[in-house]
């Protein structure tokens, strides 16, 4: 009885110790992963900052103006071109309402 109890106790101890070590190793592994990922995130953040700065640089109005002049068939907006939406005659819609 007594001996069996000790045997069982010993067995449980071995299992617990073994699983604890297993857990510990997993934690260490995860932590290493975490560190790697954190540094990757950091790197991404830094490159995001650089990209944002580059975006701001590339979209600066004088550059856009030059690009638009060279590649687009657009002209500078004239004040005369701005009007009220009510003044546009939407014939089709009105007909639809009547029907």
């Amino acid at each position: 009885m007594n001996r069996r109890f000790y045997l069982l106790f010993g067995l449980i101890l071995i299992v617990i110790v073994a699983s604890l070590f297993q857990l510990k190793h997993q934690v260490v592994k995860l932590e290493r992963n975490l560190i790697v990922n954190q540094s990757l995130i950091q790197k991404e953040k830094e490159s995001l900052k650089v990209l944002k700065a580059e975006w701001s640089y590339l979209t600066n109005p004088s550059r856009i103006e030059i690009l638009s002049e060279n590649f687009l068939d657009l002209r500078v907006l004239n004040i005369k071109q701005i009007g009220d939406i009510e003044k546009i005659p939407f014939f089709i819609e009105k007909n639809g309402e009547k029907n």
Partner: protein
């Protein structure tokens, strides 16, 4: 006998053995205790250490990531415009340093370094390397390309340190708003200097009231005018008349804040906020407003402007002489100094001073920029000062102050203070909108007079189809020691639009414009500054969400109320 002896010996041995045995047991017990003691000490220390590691020692041991995160630590906050356009940020950049003791061939190293670094020559580098110091900077904050090239050279003793570099992606566009930052992360001018502490303490981004698109239009139009009239400088500001928010602020010539310049350089000087100038006729509305507000005159009154006015040793002349009696609206639209001087005399020194004070003309502007000049005002304010100040001479202020004063005159008379920070919910904003400087009625009249000047006065060239623009021109000779220079002038135009519901004031100034063939060699504000503002309004009106109108409602009402009696021109 022998047996007896034998037995005795046996006994003795047995006894001694028994003694020995007892001794042995004692000894082993001591050993056991010692060993047990040692081991228990070891185990207790192991236990304590494990408790320490598991429960008490909470600091993460990831040195790898923390060494990489300088960008989060001593960071300057980013700066954005009102539409989330990035105006200033930090990026990692390498600085090159050398430990001369580790360099084998210093001359060769200098030649190699000079060949890949921009703006560095061989002899300077060699001088540094042979100076005998143990640590020297070769170049701070190099470009990624230079970093790569130097790394490729692989000279022993040449090393890199990661540093943060402040960069301004919009380059010179916001030179006089944002300013620049030195290599040691300290603001040198503009917002960067004024808010240096705030930018370093908190990583929360700062949003400015400026609009990149408006700023660009303003800068480009000013630049074109500056080149066209061969001026040495230009300045302009766009401001919301109801909130005091500065939408655009440009001073030319400007500089690229990514590249170091000397503070003494002309490009570093802000003509908008730092330079104080005699503004000339753009000052006239202030005295007219004070006179109308205090009921000294009405719009139907007038003054005799037939001949130059002689006051003690001064003679006051008109730039556009009409040589007849002029009504107040006429004095305004023809910009008559003679009429204004008489009006100032009737108004009195105190009342004129009081309004100028309330308009913020007499005090240093509180805008959040580091370069803000103090206005130059006469020490003793006599009647003659009051008369010259009525047409903008004998007092020097900066352009931003004038823009702010105009904003108050046209917004219905509510006091505002210029600001560059968006959502600036400090306590001042609350009472600002309640404090009244002039009455609604006076504000309406001033609006009418400003419109009149653009419609049929000195500023006709600012008029544009679509927007009802009002404004006042100013042409002033630059003062020198004991007098004025005839050949160098400052022209300015303060425009307001739209007149029926004023939203924005656009103030510009050209420094020493010259007459050109297109303007029949005239160089006054009506020919140089006024059309520039017209062009700017045409471009920025739609951007600022101001709906163009085809009717001239405001003007019609004004004319019917005030002018019809005297439109015998």
């Amino acid at each position: 006998m022998v047996k007896k002896i034998n037995k005795m010996i046996k006994n003795i041995i047995e006894n001694s053995n028994k003694d020995n045995e007892k001794n042995l047991i004692d000894l082993s017990q001591v050993r056991l205790v010692v060993i047990f003691g040692i081991f228990s000490i070891l185990f207790i220390s192991l236990f304590l250490r494990s408790v320490d590691l598991i429960l008490l020692n909470q600091t993460p041991k990831n040195n790898f990531s923390s060494s990489n995160s300088i960008i989060n630590e001593k960071n300057r906050a980013d700066i954005f415009d009102r539409n989330n356009m990035l105006l200033a940020t930090n990026v990692n950049s390498a600085s090159i340093y050398a430990k001369p003791a580790e360099i084998i061939n210093k001359t060769e190293a200098s030649i190699k370094l000079a060949s890949v670094l921009n703006n560095q020559n061989f002899s300077d580098i060699e001088k540094k390397l042979t100076s005998g110091k143990s640590f020297i900077w070769i170049k701070r904050q190099v470009s990624p390309k230079e970093h790569f090239e130097v790394n490729k050279l692989g000279i022993p003793g040449i090393k890199f340190q990661e540093e943060l570099k402040r960069i301004f992606p919009q380059e010179s566009l916001f030179a006089h708003v944002i300013g620049s930052v030195g290599v040691d992360n300290q603001g040198l001018s503009g917002v960067e200097k004024k808010l240096n502490k705030r930018l370093l303490d908190s990583t929360k981004s700062i949003f400015l009231t400026v609009d990149t698109r408006v700023q660009h239009a303003l800068r480009q139009e000013l630049y074109l005018s500056m080149k066209k009239f061969n001026a040495i400088g230009a300045a302009g500001v766009v401001m919301n008349v109801n909130s005091g928010e500065i939408i655009g602020l440009v001073s030319l010539p400007d500089f690229n804040p990514n590249i170091k310049i000397k503070p003494s350089d002309d490009a570093a000087f802000s003509r908008v906020t730092l330079g104080s100038y005699e503004m000339g006729s753009t000052f006239k509305p202030f005295t007219v407003a004070a006179a109308l507000e205090n009921k000294v005159i009405s719009l139907k009154d007038g003054y005799d402007a037939t001949k130059p006015l002689k006051v003690s040793r001064f003679i006051i002349r008109d730039d556009h002489p009409k040589e007849r009696w002029l009504s107040v609206p006429e004095i305004f639209k023809y910009s008559s100094n003679i009429g204004m001087a008489q009006m100032a005399k009737d108004l009195g020194v105190e009342k004129q001073k009081e309004l100028l004070k309330k308009l913020g003309i007499l005090d240093r502007s509180k805008v959040e920029l580091s370069e803000v000049g103090k206005p130059i005002i006469p020490r003793t304010w006599r009647e003659i000062n009051s008369m010259t100040i009525s047409y903008g001479h004998g007092i020097a202020v900066n352009l931003l102050q004038v823009a702010n004063a105009y904003a108050i005159l046209v917004n219905g008379g509510k006091k505002i203070t210029p600001t560059i920070l968006l959502n600036n919910d400090n306590e001042s904003n609350g009472y600002v909108n309640n404090e009244r400087v002039i009455s609604e009625e006076t504000s309406k009249k001033i609006r009418g007079l400003l419109r009149l000047t653009v419609k049929s006065g000195t500023a006709k060239k600012a008029d544009r189809i679509g927007y009802e623009i009002g404004g006042k021109t100013g042409t002033a000779e630059k003062p020198t020691k004991g007098g004025y220079q005839k050949d160098s002038i400052i022209t300015s135009f303060i425009g307001v639009f739209p007149m029926d519901r004023p939203s924005y004031v656009i103030a510009i100034m050209l420094d020493e414009p010259k007459g050109i063939k297109e303007t029949h060699f005239y160089r006054s504000a009506g020919w140089t500054a006024a059309p520039t503002v017209g062009n700017i309004i045409e471009r920025v009106g739609p951007l600022l969400d101001v709906m163009p109108t085809k009717t001239k409602n405001y003007w019609k009402n004004f004319e019917a109320t005030y002018i019809s009696v005297k439109s015998n021109e």
